[in-house]
């Protein structure tokens, strides 16, 4: 994996090859896979994402009972509101998918961690909804996954992808940056626009706390996937419109890493601060732990 996005962009421009192809070549170098094998592996990931999306079950509830059924509620609302929904039709669909995938994860269903299980709804919500809307071929989606993977890989190398190390900005923020870059590529944007989209998406979620109620990947994680997806869509459209990020992507990533290290430990996946420390959050934790002891 490369250490900077600027390096990938530089090679891509120098050799006049698309951004994703530079990423694929590096993956083949690292793994010893052929380009075909490497692509097949990513295609498998995308197909599992689609299976998980199709397998959403609104009747499922998480072990704690805090999560379940949200996706079906939003679907029913969007159906009735039609074009009047504040989100509009496409954004509404993206939100529904992000909610559903994140809820499926909370309810112990099979998902693709992208980059993490807690943030697994963002990337598939964008990719599956874009395939549906624009009719992309699966090979186009695979190319977009190379781009998303490169963004996540550079974040892993320079900062972190884990809530325990960097807060939610490292999970949902990273997922949003990955999805924004992927979306720009699918819409035919340039390598430079991919970097701007990733930078904008990540900037907008900097500092986000990881403060899960009772330490579970449920509240606020499931709905945070929605904001990650919306962040990605708006960042992608801004980049495609020619809007640039004043701070370059690699520097934004460094800032995210630094903020992560500076975050107090109680908002780094410990379930002790933020929302987890609210009266309702504490009551929820006590209820769950007491019932566990009573068993």
């Amino acid at each position: 994996m490369y250490d900077t996005l600027a390096q990938i962009l530089g090679i891509s421009e120098e050799t006049k090859r698309p951004f994703w192809e530079v990423v694929r070549e590096e993956d083949c170098n690292e793994t010893g896979l052929t380009p075909e094998e490497s692509g097949r592996e990513l295609l498998r990931m995308y197909r599992v994402m689609k299976e998980s999306d199709a397998a959403y079950d609104p009747a499922l509830r998480s072990e704690s009972g805090m999560v379940g059924g949200e996706g079906a509620k939003l679907a029913a609302y969007l159906e009735e509101a039609g074009a009047d929904a504040l989100l509009g039709s496409f954004s509404g669909t993206v939100c529904r998918r992000a909610l559903q995938m994140a809820a499926s994860n909370a309810c112990m269903r099979r998902i693709v961690a992208a980059p993490t299980a807690g943030s697994c709804g963002v990337l598939p919500a964008i990719l599956i909804s874009m395939e549906e809307r624009y009719g992309y071929a699966e090979e186009d989606i695979v190319k977009a996954l190379y781009t998303a993977g490169a963004i996540g890989g550079v974040i892993a190398a320079r900062a972190s992808l884990s809530g325990a190390a960097g807060g939610c900005q490292a999970e949902v923020g990273s997922a949003a940056a990955m999805a924004a870059g992927a979306a720009v590529q699918l819409r035919g944007g340039s390598g430079e626009q991919i970097l701007h989209a990733a930078a904008i998406a990540l900037k907008n979620l900097l500092g986000l706390a990881c403060d899960p109620v009772a330490g579970l990947v449920e509240v606020p994680c499931v709905k945070r996937n929605v904001i990650g997806a919306m962040d990605a869509l708006s960042a992608a459209d801004m980049a495609l419109a020619g809007i640039t990020s004043v701070i370059p992507a690699d520097e934004v990533i460094d800032a995210m890493g630094r903020i992560g290290r500076e975050l107090p430990e109680n908002i780094r996946e410990t379930g002790e601060g933020g929302l987890a420390a609210t009266p309702t959050g504490v009551a929820m934790r006590d209820r769950l732990f007491t019932s566990e002891k009573a068993e």
Binding site: M1, D27, A148, A157
Partner: protein, 229 residues
């Protein structure tokens, strides 16, 4: 990190550390035992104990002990599967020490043939694990590769013995670690290999002078009868 760690793994939720890592700990322990598990005492430490239940850590470990992989959709129903497979288990919690990783489990296993083994392993993030203790011996390996664990008496030539065998068999060593309690005392070598070590060679190693015991972790799919393919 590689691309497959960023887009992936495919896993049953909700948590890569508390669910996928837990299932992996169970599965690696089962493969180390080398036969179907009849009974397991599962001791949870730290965050595995405090938030494990809400993350399905308990179900995931039992699923792993049955040989299920981290993406096996049967993980949520692993307790029923255990009943069918004749695997009994008990859960408890213990403080294994301040320096022990918060996501750690100690598994005291008894196999169908009566074989016993104690495995301590930590889930270290992203679904990756570290085995830290085997039958009371300090070790450190990921469980991702074919792994030879050789418990022996500290004396000259033991490393060369294994290294030359691996060379003859054209098996490449990915990592090698050596631990010893004291000079001339109990020692453990851990070799993580890029290729499988054939069963007769594992047997040969176990018959050498000053070797107490050899444990081999295979990555081949043809493990025990309960291995999920």
């Amino acid at each position: 990190m590689q691309l497959k760690d960023i887009i992936g793994p495919v896993m049953v939720g909700p948590s890569s550390s508390h669910t996928a890592g837990a299932a992996r700990i169970g599965r690696v322990a089962y493969k180390l035992l080398g036969e179907p598990v009849a009974h397991a005492d599962i001791i949870l430490h730290g965050s595995f104990h405090t938030t494990g239940k809400g993350h399905g850590t308990d179900k995931a470990i039992v699923a792993g002990l049955l040989g299920f992989r981290v993406d096996d959709p049967r993980i949520p129903e692993s307790f029923d599967a255990a009943k069918e497979a004749g695997l009994t288990y008990g859960f408890s919690h213990a403080d294994l020490g301040a320096e022990v990783h918060p996501n750690t489990a100690k598994l005291v296993l008894k196999g169908k043939s009566g074989k016993e083994m104690t495995v301590v392993a930590a889930s270290v993030g992203g679904g990756r694990i570290h085995v830290t203790e085997l039958d009371g011996l300090t070790v450190s390996f990921s469980g991702d590769l074919p792994t030879l664990v050789i418990h022996h008496i500290d004396q000259p030539g033991k490393i060369a013995e294994v290294a030359s065998l691996l060379e003859r068999k054209k098996i490449n060593v990915a990592s090698m670690r050596l631990y010893r309690a004291r000079r001339g005392g109990n020692a453990v070598m851990v070799f993580e290999c890029d290729q499988e070590v054939p069963a007769q060679d594992v047997q040969w190693l176990s018959e050498q002078e000053a070797t107490v015991r050899v444990i081999y972790l295979s990555q081949s799919h043809a493990g025990g009868a309960l291995t999920h393919v």
